[in-house]
């Protein structure tokens, strides 16, 4: 070893500073967000249903993911500028206050709750024409956001279930909308949550003096009760987070539950969140999702279209992206406002 190091000593010494500089450029994060095209994921790979197993599905239904890099390194930033397919913006809002790990945790929570919403909407729709299909679900209020001033910040995790608050005069608050009314007299209140392992825990939270809030954001979700649901389904582990696959997950699950094959041999993809009433919600990074669809040669791409007058309507954004990149949207870019719209479109195909 010594001979080798002695032989190359001058080269090693000369390389120390450039090496440190290169490592700095490669590792030092900067507060930007890069979105770039990703790929397609077949929903069948994520969710399998023990039903209709001999049904032959000729085409594919896929969700679309993009690569979203929060706090890239200088080198990633430079790389991103070389391609018109990438979008660079400054980090803002919750992306700036949360760590990358926290953003990832929120993203996985979004994905998990989105799959539940997709299952609920698809099963309920399928049960209208297939009486064998039935679903039960329960309402849960989960932690979705944490302010910097939240007490016990590290003990409360994203996705923990809210149970109750012991409010003024020991009034038990289980409906979070009552929290403002019954937490005015004391400085601290006992909150009960259930963590991901099902363990209940109690923390005392106080309101921030400036904000006059506890600093925990709760969101209501409906979670499928697998015991009382037929047919059973299994969700594979996923490395891709976010709720934007909701619409396509709903379509694919519905397709697994009915006899007809909606795909008709086509490569179907799209984007859009799904709400419990079957309506579709907006998503981010539309341009990169359109480019992903284009690069993957999809036959049909569903995109949320709720208001043509709204500048950031996803369909309008998609049309602008197509124009910018010289892509003809005719025939494959399909605007939808609900799961029913997408279903009607596919059922209308010959």
């Amino acid at each position: 070893m010594k001979e080798l190091f002695n032989h190359y000593s001058s080269a090693i010494i000369a390389m120390v500073l450039p090496y440190l500089f290169i490592m700095f450029v490669l590792l030092f994060p900067i507060p930007y967000l890069i979105n770039s095209p990703g790929g397609l994921t077949e929903v069948e790979d994520l969710i399998t249903i023990e039903y209709n197993l001999d049904k032959e599905i000729e085409g594919t239904i896929s969700t679309t993911y993009v690569v979203s890099i929060k706090r890239p390194t200088y080198f990633q930033f430079m790389l991103a500028t070389f391609s018109p397919y990438n979008n660079i913006s400054a980090l803002t809002g919750s992306n700036l206050t949360y760590t990358n790990q926290e953003i990832q945790a929120i993203s996985y929570l979004d994905k998990a709750t989105s799959v539940n919403a997709a299952v609920i909407v698809a099963f309920e729709k399928a049960s209208e024409i297939n009486t064998e299909v039935s679903i039960q679900y329960e309402r849960k209020v989960l932690v979705y956001g944490k302010a910097e001033y939240l007490d016990h910040y590290d003990e409360i995790n994203f996705g923990d279930e809210f149970v109750q608050i012991v409010g003024d005069s020991d009034y038990i608050i289980t409906d979070i909308s009552e929290a403002g009314t019954y937490t005015t007299q004391n400085l601290e209140y006992d909150w009960t949550f259930i963590d991901e392992d099902g363990e209940e825990y109690i923390v005392s939270l106080s309101k921030d003096e400036e904000e006059e809030k506890f600093g925990v954001t709760l969101k209501t979700y409906y979670i499928v009760d697998q015991e009382d649901t037929f047919p059973k389904y299994q969700e594979s582990n996923s490395s891709i987070g976010g709720p934007s696959g909701g619409l396509l997950q709903t379509l694919s699950i519905y397709n697994m539950l009915v006899n007809e094959d909606l795909t008709k041999g086509l490569k179907i993809a799209g984007t859009g969140t799904i709400n419990y009433d079957g309506s579709v919600g907006y998503i981010g990074a539309t341009e990169q999702k359109i480019l992903t669809a284009y690069l993957n040669h999809v036959d049909i791409f569903f995109i949320p279209n709720l208001d043509d007058e709204y500048y950031y309507d996803n369909y309008q954004e998609a049309l602008r992206a197509c124009e910018e990149h010289g892509i003809d949207p005719t025939g494959w870019l399909i605007p939808v406002a609900s799961f029913q719209d997408a279903l009607d479109y596919l059922e209308g195909l010959s």
Binding site: M1, K2, P37, G39, I69, T73, F75, L79, I240
Partner: protein, 122 residues
């Protein structure tokens, strides 16, 4: 194979195990220090240009070929510096070893590209 084994035996006769190991460690350390930024560059390329994943994965495999070859190059250099008057054809021996290891890297890389990556991106 027989010839390769005989050459390894000859190398062990030329150099004690401690010297062989010492040469390898030095070569491994220097190559790894040089290779780390290259690997980070390739990973960051993948992160930005994920839609070129297959092509970039092949680039990573080629970079690994270079890494293995460079370790062997420096290992040989180290051994030659330790004992210039050796009797073994180290260049030939290490070339064969490099080709064998790189073949394994290629097979594993192809498995990663066509089996592991599709499983991971669900």
């Amino acid at each position: 194979m027989k010839h390769t084994n005989a050459t390894w035996k000859s190398l062990r006769e030329d150099y004690p195990s401690a010297e062989l190991f010492d040469g390898f460690v030095g070569a491994f350390l220097l190559s790894t220090v040089l290779f780390i930024p290259i690997m980070i560059i390739l990973i960051e390329l993948v992160s930005i240009y994920l839609y070129r994943l297959t092509f970039l994965s092949f680039m990573i495999i080629i970079a690994l070929f270079g890494y293995i070859a460079f370790i062997h190059f420096l290992w040989r250099k180290s051994l030659v510096l330790k004992k210039p008057e050796h009797n073994t054809n180290i260049l030939n021996l290490f070339l064969k070893t490099t080709i064998i290891i790189n073949s394994v890297v290629l097979v594993l890389g192809i498995l990663v590209i066509f089996v592991l990556i599709p499983i991971l991106f669900v």
